[in-house]
């Protein structure tokens, strides 16, 4: 015991370990949220995202009725009447874009959330139970990571009955593996922590340990993975629909682009037909990426950009202050 006297850090470290994992995590989760709102990137990202969500919700009020109905002569350039012009069929592009936000955001978020949930389940249980289960789950995860996503999406979507549900399920099938891998490695490191061992010794059930002790401490990783999954899902959905594998009857950014190409708008130089939907996808993905980098920077201060440019081999700065 007396050895401890020479090393106060071991003393200091032994005390917070008494606290349960979930209590500490709750504190850190609120702190994360608060720091997030002070981070410029996070605020910018969240604002863009919020703007899109509001516009998507308001679409039925702003453009009542069927947005794909024909309202003017085909392919007119932007004007006062149609701010973003009309498609070659004569539909209002702004209306299509706003209505498209509804299904694109819904599918992107739904598929992203589902992929993350599957990833968390697989990663957590693999890390918690270890051994055989872990080996099998890791193997399956790695196979899914390796199989090229788009071709897999294509055959899955082609064989399953068309519809929004299929798109979501298919995106989830191709999207979960990435998050499972991240979750597993994070959970592995938490599995070794004292408070998990303490919970194990006190005879808590596995599910409770996983959900109450381990999961809350993975908050920031779950967050970045979720954001990454949503970005991936939105992009993949657009690609799928662009190939005509979505439900061509729903209006989304991907199908808007599909119709723009199949009507030949690009070749005819009608830029206003394909620019808005693509820009919308990019802005949403960018906003999510901004949030993602903000979380990264907060949890890993080393990645933060220094205020002044510094060469990484620079010698120690010498600042001589006048002593008072």
């Amino acid at each position: 015991m007396t050895q401890n006297a020479t090393d106060p850090q071991t003393l200091a470290a032994s005390q917070p370990a008494e606290e349960s994992g979930s209590a500490r995590a709750r504190v850190s989760a609120t702190r994360l949220l608060r720091t997030l709102l002070r981070n410029g990137k996070a605020v910018a990202g969240l604002s863009i995202l919020l703007a899109f969500i509001i516009l998507a919700l308001l679409a039925p009020a702003l453009f009542p009725g069927d947005p794909s109905r024909i309202t003017s002569a085909g392919a007119s350039a932007p004007s006062m009447e149609h701010w973003l012009g009309t498609t070659s069929k004569g539909q209002d592009v702004l209306g299509l874009t706003l209505w498209g936000a509804r299904s694109s955001l819904f599918v992107g978020f739904a598929a992203g959330i589902l992929s993350t949930i599957v990833g968390v389940l697989v990663g957590l249980s693999g890390a918690y139970f270890g051994r055989g289960l872990d080996e099998v789950l890791s193997l399956v995860t790695n196979v899914f990571l390796l199989v090229p996503g788009l071709p897999l999406l294509v055959i899955l979507a082609a064989f399953m009955p068309p519809g929004l549900g299929t798109v979501i399920v298919v995106l989830m099938i191709t999207g979960w593996a990435g998050s499972a891998r991240v979750m597993r490695s994070q959970a592995m490191s938490i599995r070794g922590k004292d408070y998990v061992a303490a919970a194990l010794v006190s005879g808590e059930r596995p599910l409770r340990i996983m959900v109450r002790e381990m999961l809350p401490n993975m908050a920031s990783v779950v967050m970045t993975t979720l954001l990454g999954c949503i970005i991936g899902s939105i992009g993949a959905q657009a690609g799928l629909e662009f190939l005509g594998l979505g439900d061509v009857n729903t209006i989304s950014w991907g199908t808007n682009l599909f119709w723009a190409t199949s009507d030949g708008s690009l070749m005819l130089g009608q830029w206003w037909i394909f620019v808005p939907s693509g820009l919308a996808i990019a802005l949403v993905a960018f906003a999510l990426a901004l949030c993602n980098y903000a979380v990264d920077e907060i949890t890993n201060p080393r990645l933060r950009r220094p205020k002044h440019a510094t060469k990484s081999t620079a010698a120690t700065t010498v600042v001589r202050k006048e002593e008072k």
Binding site: G149, A285, F286, A289, A309, K311
Partner: protein
């Protein structure tokens, strides 16, 4: 060597899983896919085509086990059945004529994106907070947020349609006879620039940030501090010590990225009417050409797995710790 053998075994397993998925997928779907397909199909199908589909889907209802082994052996000998949209060309022939273009586009983009992205990442990490480190990441992340195919459309619109400086479609000019001569090679290169550029632009940010972040982590390793204490020149520390180590995770993540790049290449091909597998994919989807879609899936998967194995070979050269002895 045991590292490579293990990887090889894993790739074989992944390929087997893909074949099995391919086999099971049509059989697991509710209802009779052939009938459903026939009802959706706009063009009339020849009886032979319907027959070919029935075999593919296993609608005949024979015992599933022998059918499975039959399927396995057919796939492994490169027999993917007949294409529906280009009946009666065998799927393998259709793919064989297009795969080289996809490989050309995919590999060119991959190489440029990896080299350029890693270089930018190294430089940004080396001068933290400098111009490159401040400007490039947000810009590249923004560009990377666009769908591949949309950026391709934009590039085509600006450079092809508006400015007329880039070829609009296909992999080489009409009327040119493919051959190994300078004129043809230059023409192919000219047609490659825009599609490859869009893929590189979209994927560059990921590579750069990945490399930057591992470089930053590596820079705080003890061997970097020791190298500084040794009084080595900064560029030597940066390349032989920091980058040489930071490269390893970057090489590992190439495996997954190959899949992404291939996906990007497929979509970009559609926009540029580039005669690769992706361009055919659109036709296959519209013509409900299931055998062709499945054949493409398996071929591309095989190509990606082989590429991964090649990456492993490189990795073994770079990291002495996975070598034996």
């Amino acid at each position: 060597m045991s590292f490579l053998l293990r990887r090889l075994g894993f790739y074989l397993l992944a390929f087997w899983a893909s074949i099995t998925l391919n086999f099971l997928l049509p059989r697991l779907m509710p209802g009779d896919p052939v009938t459903r397909m026939l009802s959706r199909s706009q063009q009339r199908l020849e009886p032979q085509q319907v027959e070919a589909l029935r075999t593919l889907m296993g609608v005949d209802g024979g015992p599933i086990i022998p059918e499975y082994f039959g399927y396995l052996s057919r796939v492994l000998t490169g027999d993917f059945g007949m294409s529906i949209s280009r009946f009666p060309t065998p799927v393998s022939e259709v793919i064989a004529s297009q795969l080289p273009w996809t490989l050309l586009l995919g590999l060119t983009s991959l190489i440029f994106a990896v080299i350029l992205g890693n270089l930018l990442g190294i430089l940004a990490a080396w001068r933290r907070g400098g111009f490159l480190d401040s400007v490039a990441p947000p810009l590249l992340v923004f560009i990377g947020s666009f769908p591949y195919f949309w950026l391709a459309m934009g590039a085509l619109y600006i450079f092809g349609i508006n400015m007329g400086v880039a070829p609009m479609r296909h992999a080489f000019s009409v009327g040119l006879v493919p051959g190994f001569n300078l004129e043809f090679i230059l023409d192919v290169a000219a047609h490659l620039v825009l599609p490859a550029l869009t893929i590189v632009l979209v994927s560059l940010g990921g590579w750069m940030l990945g490399m930057r972040n591992t470089m930053i982590a590596t820079n705080s390793e003890d061997y970097i501090l020791m190298a500084e204490a040794k009084g080595l020149r900064p560029h030597r520390i940066m390349l032989n010590y920091a980058a040489r180590n930071a490269m390893l995770p970057s090489v590992t993540s190439m495996g997954m990225s190959i899949g992404f790049i291939v996906g990007g290449a497929l979509l970009t091909e559609v926009v540029f009417a580039y005669p690769g597998v992706g361009y055919q994919l659109l036709g296959a989807v519209q013509g409900l050409d299931y055998p062709l879609m499945q054949g493409m899936f398996l071929t591309i998967t095989a190509a990606v797995l082989i590429a991964n194995f090649l990456v492993d070979l490189v990795y073994v050269r770079l990291d002495p710790r996975v070598r034996k002895g």
